[in-house]
């Protein structure tokens, strides 16, 4: 739930990167952190396992400037992707305003993508949120693996698996090289802000 602080003239918005394990959610935030280092005043917070996997969440606050005189503070979170951490994923989704679903283009990850999206739908329902009503962007990640000869799914297959009903914006990208990472972020920020336009006017 976004919060408007009329006293400080500031709006806080929560955007969560969701998706299957090892899909590139944390790598998206790492790239954003490096790219916008000057605008990000604080360190990225990551709660990781010893094996460097996300245990609870990553957190990165980004200031994007003013709209209608309000400072817009975007708070980016990731969820832990591993199947066993669903209870934690639910907690991170509390009060979410916008979502990026990071899917993995690798053929062998097809089922994990579908299962993760299904579970996201269910988890949102536990917070009384409908996937069709919340701002959502899909990112088909790891296109960089194509040149290494790893079998990837086509964009059409990804759309068929994940976006047939949702019909939300999607980007083919690479979190590791940065391809379409910023475009994904810009899209979800603009969609989320549009959903709040009445409150901001």
């Amino acid at each position: 739930m976004g919060f408007i602080n009329v006293k400080k003239k500031e709006v806080q918005i929560k955007i969560v990167y969701y998706g299957p394990g090892r899909g590139g959610k944390t790598t998206n935030l790492d790239y954003i952190n490096k790219k916008y280092k000057q605008r990000i005043k604080t360190e990225m917070v990551s709660i990781k396992t010893h094996g460097d996997r996300t245990l609870f969440f990553d957190f990165l606050p980004v200031d994007i400037g003013k709209i209608h005189g309000f400072d817009i503070k975007i708070q980016l979170y990731t969820v832990p992707g591993q199947v066993k951490y669903n209870a934690t994923r639910k907690l991170v989704l509390k009060g979410v305003d916008g979502l990026v679903f990071v899917a993995d283009l690798q053929k062998e990850r097809q089922e994990s993508n579908i299962k993760s999206l299904e579970q996201m739908k269910e988890n949102l329902l536990t917070h009384n949120k409908d996937i069709s009503k919340i701002p959502l962007v899909l990112q088909y990640n790891k296109i960089d693996l194509k040149k290494e000869g790893i079998p990837l799914l086509s964009v059409e297959e990804m759309e068929q698996d994940l976006n047939q009903e949702l019909k939300v914006p999607s980007f083919v990208g690479s979190a590791i090289t940065g391809e379409n990472v910023v475009e994904t972020l810009k899209k979800i920020i603009s969609m989320t802000l549009i959903s709040f336009r009445k409150e901001l006017q």
Partner: protein, 129 residues
């Protein structure tokens, strides 16, 4: 998205200052369960990153709350971390917001709990306006 009026925020700040900073609490923060910071008052010596603290505190509180439910408790009545020089006390104001106090060894936990109970009642009545 929700908002709170300037008057409500000023009333909350006044309560935090008058009832908690006055007894020696170093920093007090009101956050919502999503991790947004609603109000923050400190004694001028708190230099940590409040946004990151709020995100971690909301996650921490939510995790403890979920653990309570797993063992059949509605909630744990005391949520407190004691450090060598700084300690943190969490309390639930209502379903949406939490009160966090960071304090040193010169404040007793018992007294703080009494004061936070009073503060919670006051904030609730402002919040419900």
């Amino acid at each position: 998205m929700y908002d709170v009026s300037q008057e409500q925020l000023e009333d909350i700040d006044a309560i935090l200052k008058g009832d908690l900073l006055s007894i020696g609490v170093h920093c007090t923060i009101i956050i919502d369960v999503a991790g947004n910071t609603i109000a923050q008052i400190d004694d001028g010596h708190c230099t940590f990153d409040v946004a990151a603290f709020a995100a971690l505190a909301a996650g921490n509180f939510a995790a403890v709350d979920a653990m309570a439910k797993l063992v059949g408790e509605e909630q744990f009545s005391l949520h407190f971390h004691r450090g060598e020089s700084e300690s943190i006390h969490f309390s639930k104001v209502n379903e949406d917001i939490l009160l966090i106090c960071i304090f040193g060894q010169d404040v007793s936990l018992g007294f703080l709990r009494l004061k936070t109970a009073e503060v919670i009642d006051k904030i609730k009545s402002i919040w419900d306006k």
